[in-house]
């Protein structure tokens, strides 16, 4: 059994379909993960001087609650394997719903479970990236802005945000690539992404070399596209 190029051409349509699904899950995961991550990341420092001054009155307990919730979310996700998270959402969560409500036939599509898992998983790591970058912004800039009488919200949007965002790009690139590769783990809940497609073809023709080589190259192409897009964004931003 030598290297058969025809094996690759024959399996290409199925593998490309898998790659397409991998890409879709990744993009949804990255977009949702960014939203989740920005909220949780800011949530973890709500009411601290990293975002201006400490709140008073009713806002104080509210920000404490937000910090606590965001922290619990991040630590829970970081503290458990993504496979367990996917399995929990796909297999265990419907049972939990059945147990506490009367809904009998609640179930989650495998693809939906995969997208939700990757969103929440990436979100937790992105939250830490967001928190780290925001904390790293010189506090004097906030003070300068506040002494002009500008609102905290405006300062977060126009000063902290842009400066922190630029610092986030390298670690975000890391996380986006990790998330893309993590989609291969959804093989365990039967999502037909790239790794799953490769596995299925392999099981029928036993051409491990050709199939896994092609699968690896496809992943490499997708991660390269992600990395290069981030480099582009980085170049476009003002250097300071």
């Amino acid at each position: 059994m030598g290297f058969e190029f025809s094996v690759i051409t024959e399996s290409l349509p199925a593998l490309l379909a898998g790659a397409k699904l991998t890409w879709i899950i990744t993009i949804l995961g990255i977009v949702g993960g960014m939203i989740c991550g920005i909220l949780a990341g800011l949530g973890r420092i709500a009411g601290t001087d990293a975002l201006g001054e400490e709140p008073h009155g009713i806002f104080k307990p509210i920000t404490v609650a937000i910090r606590y919730l965001s922290g619990t979310y991040v630590e829970t996700i970081r503290g458990t394997p993504i496979i367990v998270q996917a399995m929990f959402l796909y297999f265990a969560f419907p049972m939990l719903v059945k147990a506490v409500t009367d809904i009998e036939r609640f179930r989650i599509e495998a693809l939906t479970a995969a997208v939700i898992t990757i969103i929440f998983n990436a979100g937790a790591y992105i939250a830490e990236i967001v928190r780290g970058s925001v904390i790293s912004v010189n506090k004097g800039l906030l003070e300068a802005g506040m002494s002009l009488g500008i609102s905290r919200f405006q300062l977060i949007v126009h000063v902290i945000g842009p400066i922190a965002f630029r610092r986030m790009i390298p670690p975000l690139g890391n996380q986006f690539i990790i998330s893309l590769k993590d989609t291969s783990l959804f093989i365990v809940i039967g999502v037909g992404e790239l790794t799953r497609q490769g596995q299925e073809i392999m099981a029928s023709n036993f051409r491990a070399l050709e199939i896994w080589l092609t699968v690896a190259i496809m992943y490499l192409i997708m991660t390269t596209v992600l990395a290069m897009s981030l480099r582009q964004i980085e170049r476009k931003m003002k250097i300071f």
Binding site: N138, G140, A144, S147, L148, F240
Partner: protein, 246 residues
């Protein structure tokens, strides 16, 4: 003349340590007050309390009719009227000089962009930086950055300007250009100013009152030339000796 700033029996603690002890201080509209004192004596904390970057722990602070702590919700009102210039400039690094100066009028005074830009251009030329309007802070010298920072503080037309050692981070040859700008503001605008500095020449020339702080207290105050000529306490004599030798 009426008082624009009043501190009554103000104390400020960080955790267990009290760093300002029972400060009483009234500043009149248009007055230039220079604050001196050794490092750690509470000069920065004092002026940061005035624009509520630090909240006073006890006592009362009245700035332009707003009372702290009762009207804590109105600190933004205070900050609109009380600008601040920092030792480290703190310019927004991603904005050009012009954008830095126009940002305040735009966001704090809700001015439209073209009007804010006009004001900013005007102020930049006033501090002698008209041809630098498109430079980022990182492309400017320390003295130029500090002049932009002063223009930025002026742009929201405050009634009071606070300066926290505005020339301490500058190379010696740039100190003069910043002090000149400050002198002009005191003269032309009749601006109320509270200036923490060790530039005794500036204090003598521009200051209406000199305050010497030590260990969180106001130890001596009076007309700058007189306080400098006739220091009463040992600590001030000692301090003036150190400053002069610089």
């Amino acid at each position: 003349m009426s008082n624009i700033i009043e501190l009554k029996n103000v104390c400020k603690s960080f955790g267990e340590t009290e760093v300002l002890h029972n400060i009483d201080l009234s500043i009149q509209e248009g007055e230039v007050v220079v604050v001196i004192g050794p490092s750690g004596s509470g000069k920065s904390t004092l002026i940061r309390c005035i624009n509520c970057l630090e909240l006073i722990s006890s006592g009362e602070l009245i700035v332009d009719t707003v009372r702290i702590p009762e009207e804590r919700g109105r600190t933004r009102q205070i900050r609109l009227e009380v600008g601040m210039v920092f030792q480290q400039f703190n310019l927004f690094p991603h904005m050009t000089a012009l954008e830095n100066v126009a940002f305040g009028p735009c966001k704090a005074r809700k001015m439209n962009k073209s009007k804010a830009t006009d004001i900013a251009r005007n102020l930049l030329s006033k501090v002698g930086l008209a041809e630098f309007e498109n430079k980022l802070p990182g492309q400017l010298s320390g003295g130029q950055q500090q002049r932009v920072a002063i223009a930025r503080a002026l742009a929201v037309s405050p009634k009071v300007l606070l300066f926290d050692e505005p020339t301490s981070a500058l190379d010696p040859e740039m100190i003069g250009e910043v002090l000149d700008v400050m002198k002009n503001i005191a003269k032309d605008h009749g601006m109320t100013m509270v200036v923490v500095t060790h530039e005794m020449g500036f204090a003598a020339q521009v200051g209406d009152r000199l305050i010497f702080m030590d260990d969180g207290r106001i130890v001596e105050e009076g007309k700058p030339s007189e306080v400098m000529k006739n220091p009463q306490s040992e600590r001030l004599k000692d301090f003036l000796g150190h400053v002069k030798h610089h």
